[in-house]
């Protein structure tokens, strides 16, 4: 399977709020980060949660965000980051 993104790519998390079992936290929806690594290809948890087979499998990436861009009024250092695993179908180029 070919993957859409590579480490170093800037990506935006889709600003979408579908129902069901979603592993993309609300706090990063609509935020922009950088791909840190490809974790692998995994069955889609949004389907697996309902007893379906999770296919087609989706590439999963670790995406790094600056904390001061995720949280309004973040009270920490400018270099602080948060890394989150996000499935490819939740990401768009930024």
């Amino acid at each position: 399977m070919s993957t859409r993104f590579e480490p170093g790519d800037r990506v935006a998390v889709r600003r979408s709020y579908p129902p069901g079992h979603i592993r993309t936290p609300h706090y990063v929806r609509g935020k922009v980060g950088v791909v840190e690594r490809l974790c692998g290809i995994f069955g889609n948890p949004e389907e697996l949660a309902y007893g379906r087979n999770g296919l087609p499998a989706q590439p999963l990436y670790r995406v790094r965000f600056r904390q001061d861009q995720v949280w309004p009024g973040y009270a920490g250092a400018a270099g602080d980051t948060i890394d989150i695993e996000i499935y490819e179908h939740w990401l768009e180029p930024a």
């Binding site: 974790c39 904390q67 009270a75 920490g76 250092a77 602080d80 980051t81 890394d83 989150i84 996000i86």
Partner: protein, 206 residues
Amino acid sequence: MHDGHAHPHEAPPEPDGPLSDYQLMEIAVRELLVEKGVLTADEIRQAIEAMDARSPAQGARVVARAWIDPAYKRRLLANGTAACEELGIDMGTVKLVVVENTADAHNVIVCTLCSCYPRALLGLPPDWYKSRAYRARTVREPRAVLREFGTEIPDSVAVRVHDSTADMRYLVLPARPVGTQGWSEEKLAALVTRDSMIGVALPRPA
């Protein structure tokens, strides 16, 4: 039950209070599984015993080996699961990512969605790790949470939070304490605490 320390965890439920719906469900499913011959009560007890027996000792071995052997450390950071299996640790289907503390960065692990934790390396997670308070606050204000654990990270060091939202599990590789040159792996492993591998504390000093 808890004195006034500002520890981010919830009070545990009263042990003799009414059972919650989930507790009732667990008892019902477990009793049905035994009644229908799917499992025996002893098999269930053995599985609990095996889970309780695991401890952070396995994680400490991995850290001590990485401190002593730079080539092992590189392999560990590239593929955590394979490097643990090199030491004979059965990781099952777990995909492990190891993140390294350096002079520039301090890492801390959380699972906001549930309580994902590298049980094969660290045993059972502490109650505070599973609490809503830890899971909500560590992503939002990690330095304040670390401070409540007695860990102060200067602003010149970046705090990197890792939210294990999907299929990976995480282990922090703490920085090797100063003054440990020439120490054996066993002596080094004794400095590595569970909390330092979660990232809320530093390892024991030499």
